[in-house]
Chain length 330, copies 4
């Protein structure tokens, strides 16, 4: 039984806390949240005590810290938890700043504690099976990776303003997915397009709501990512890998398999509109993967380095969009 302290009792904190409590392999000893009600509610649900962030990190009866607080607190909390010798599962991203991530990872390195970054899409049962089949060579050499990610509707402008921009906030998942699908081959060059087509208020806030990025590795393999903050049919999430031997792709999951045929055509069901619903199983498997790694004593993935590399790609895309020029990834 691995004992956890959970920092953050918001949407994701709740999902992860419950997964831990129901896993039969871990327990939640403490919950901390600036919002006392949220902390109480989650603590009650998972049979934990409420404590302050500092108390949770330093508690002698916890082995691991799950960080599900706002983004701008992640790096500080990772450092504190690492210095307290705790194993860490932190929601993405470590920080919006590449420099800050590098500093944070140095602290973790020194503390020699395992750190996993919560890129939950790696654990989606469809995407993870596709990746495993890729690694077995089913598609041969990877030539073109295409990732489509469209949200049903934009978040509030107040959120956009603190988000670091679309490339860092939304496309960050696709940058990590690119690296995951490429299996260790790193991106060399990034070129980004951005547009403000969904909501003028987003443009006024200095951000975009529609974006296309293409990237290339030294070998020549290409990654194409498109993002939109609007999709009338749900949370569109697709990946496709074209290789020398085959094409592998994973499509959307429809709400049901029900189809209706009438004079309008053949209509199949919508796809989920909520990412929490779309990725419920991925969030669950992410936490179990962390437990697996700890139990087996292996390094969890996505690693802190993966978090850093994804952020570098987001930086490069942001710079490319602002300058109009392709950007080399450092």
């Amino acid at each position: 039984m691995i004992s956890f302290g959970v920092l953050g009792a918001g949407r994701i904190g709740k999902v992860h806390g419950n997964t831990l409590a129901n896993s039969g392999r871990a327990k939640v000893a403490y919950v901390a949240d600036a919002d006392g009600k949220a902390a109480d509610s989650l603590a009650k649900a998972v049979g934990a005590k409420v404590a302050s962030v500092e108390e949770v990190i330093k508690a002698k009866d916890t082995d691991a810290i799950l960080i599900a607080t706002p983004t701008d607190t992640h790096a500080d909390l990772i450092e504190a938890a690492a210095q307290a010798g705790k194993m860490i599962l932190c929601e993405k991203p470590v920080s919006l700043s590449v420099e800050r991530i590098e500093k944070c990872l140095a602290v973790v390195e020194k503390a020699k504690v395992p750190l996993m970054i919560g890129f939950h899409r790696r654990y989606d049962p469809n995407f993870s099976v596709l990746e495993k089949r890729l690694r077995k060579g089913e598609a041969g050499d990877v030539e073109i990776v295409t990732i489509t990610c469209r949200d049903p509707a934009p978040p509030p402008v107040s959120y956009i303003e603190r988000s670091g921009g679309l490339y860092r906030d939304m496309m960050i998942h696709d940058f990590d997915m690119s690296r995951f699908l490429l299996g260790g081959e790193e991106i060399e060059i990034v070129h980004a397009l951005g547009g403000n087509m969904v909501d003028p208020a987003i443009g006024k806030a200095g951000d975009i709501d529609t974006a296309a990025v293409h990237m290339q590795t030294k070998r020549g393999a290409m990654v194409i990512i498109t993002n939109s903050r609007r999709a009338t049919y749900g949370h569109d999430q697709r990946i496709e890998v074209h290789g020398s031997k085959a094409m592998l792709r994973a499509g959307n999951i429809h709400l049901t398999t029900v189809e209706c045929a009438n004079g309008d055509g053949f209509t199949s069901d919508l796809i989920p509109f909520s990412f929490i619903e779309r990725y419920a199983e991925a969030y669950r498997l992410e936490v179990l993967a962390f437990l697996d790694a700890i139990e087996k004593g292996v390094a969890p993935t996505a690693s802190g380095h993966d978090g850093l590399q994804a952020q570098k790609l987001a930086e490069a895309a942001t710079e490319s969009w602002k300058t109009g020029k392709p950007v080399k990834v450092k």
Copy 2:
């Protein structure tokens, strides 16, 4: 160049006449039709002369007769053409009466001329590929054959009245398809359900518009057929064969591959409403298959015997529906 006389210049006569004329392997020498205008029009289109039925059958410069006249003339015309020593391609059915077919086939047998019955669905590129894969053993032993056939809308009651009833008029194609997919294994027992759910006038005319038949071979293999005279989404035509090694199925062909995703779901295109459109390629390939058989000197299929057996199944189904009892096929 095989020279044809075409009897009947209606819808199917036109389709087949044009296929012959464009085949580069045959020519249409004569066209006959009670409707002089129709005969003229087709003759002009294919570069043929108009003549009477008797003249066409006896013409010394024709090798083959294509019969596309009303059903009740088929048996007489086949006999006349056979006695004149012509090769014959006749639209289904030979006759609505099993006895009449048997008598007719005896005449053809005696005349030793090739006779092919136009069960066009055997030549549909999807169904014929499925059958070839079945014969190669891809599905193993055939266990359950399911045939779905739904027309978009019922024909006029005046047509229904002369049609011989749904089992003989509409399901006859599915009876032949059953035998085609079973590859020579004959049906032993037939049980039929019938209902009048689409148009009360059809019921008043003594017929049904919705029907289900299931049948079994001695070995135990089952065939399930459902028919409806109504389908709001087009001419629904599907076959499925469940076997010991695999399931093979052939679905509908959509008008286009265009799909629209919006708040209503994911809508793919309709399927054809006209059987002439749905089976355009099948009609063409049927005629070419007849030319192939003639050129190679092999017996064409579907044979007269196939026409007879399908009619026996239609008889059995009709009797089963009327008596409510299962009927053994003679």
Copy 3:
């Protein structure tokens, strides 16, 4: 918090016990099973005590009894639980004998306790949505219902021998599904075909492994069911309803959305081979539906009457198969 006694700690008992324990709306107070180890294991998992069947039924601190014991004990246990004034959720079927069911339901009636029969497929998220859309009239009048159910592989012959035969053991689910989809319209006539094509040992045991049944209501609506004890591609579960306004269908759920395109074609993933896996969500929702009914004070479905009617159809099909004749449902 509704307090349950769970009778039977086998495969389904475990699934349901865990659903109750995790529901937040019920608790499992007792578990009984002839196999002491199984009882201990489940009791531990859900925080319950182990007791004898009699003790569980009579325990004052239970409100409801969940019966997941072998089929031949169901009727006796339902009666005992009813006489003890408990609410009852019993796995299908009440009994393999129509007479026994009728006697049992009379006892329940007298005791005035709610009884729900576990026809889990009604709660499958796909099938239940389809049924709701049917009831709203989306397909118009129901004309043809087609239900396809194929198991990946036959059960052991020892199971077959005690099963009551395919129609009572396997097709019973499809009989209930038929009535569910017909929305209260009862079947009048049943005709069954049966074959022994999968395993000769099943035939020797007096049973069949491949079956087709078609049935008709007074209005004329038809239901077509096919079953096979073999399917190389998984647990095939499909329903299709053809109506005057539309066709509604619900297809199989694939293991993942991953598709591979190469020289063999475009291959999508398998479907589950285990019915426990295929219907995991249905089993969960079945138990929650029972809790809903209890909490709202309404009669749960499927009711005891539904259980009786499905059994009557299974009887009719069995008789039809044995006599070769269509059978009227009483």
Copy 4:
């Protein structure tokens, strides 16, 4: 009856010549080809005379010239035909040089003859329906256009060497499709990636075999194109348009609708490997669209201007690939 002279009796010349001859609305009076046998063969098939290119262009009994000769002759032949007052249908492209196209179009302008460029994909029944639905506003404002085009295998290096490179030879179709789908909105900026991943010999010849281009209009709409000279599963041709109201897409056409389910999964059929087979109907409809335009006296599309604009995009992409920088379209 419009009388045509056909220049070029190769693969496309034959396809178009036969379409004209079978149209019932046009005839082929002359055929010219440097290869006398090819000219004879086509002339015989369509009932035409063989003549020299000069004779065909100047023949008094022709109204229109169909140009299906090698690319480097197109501009000269268009000019000659225009100066002879003929209507012109010329296979794409007018020339590999933007300057040459501009000069050629000036000649056509002066001669006031209709000129249509054979971008056949505009006439594909799937793509043209999608475009019509776009123009009706079904998808709302166009935001992201994604075009996927993969050839089964690369052409010979000897062909590559004279092709002008992948962007001009292969992606030119996708540039035209982009403009077609954007409905008149012009591309402002182009960035291209290129890789040599299929055949090293193509790299040695100075070309690429894998490419990704993304482009943007002034409004912000994005177009993403990917090309590969290799696809193990056939000639992959897909378009997708994401708009403010809906996503519209058109997928691949499979050889048949046959699907096989077994222990490997559910496998649907391959797609065509030959572009001639894939686009047979598009080629036919292209020629009929030219006849329509002529008969109605309207300007045919794609116009010479469309040919020029597509070439400008191919130039921009080639320059972008060579310099690594985004290129503004003039």
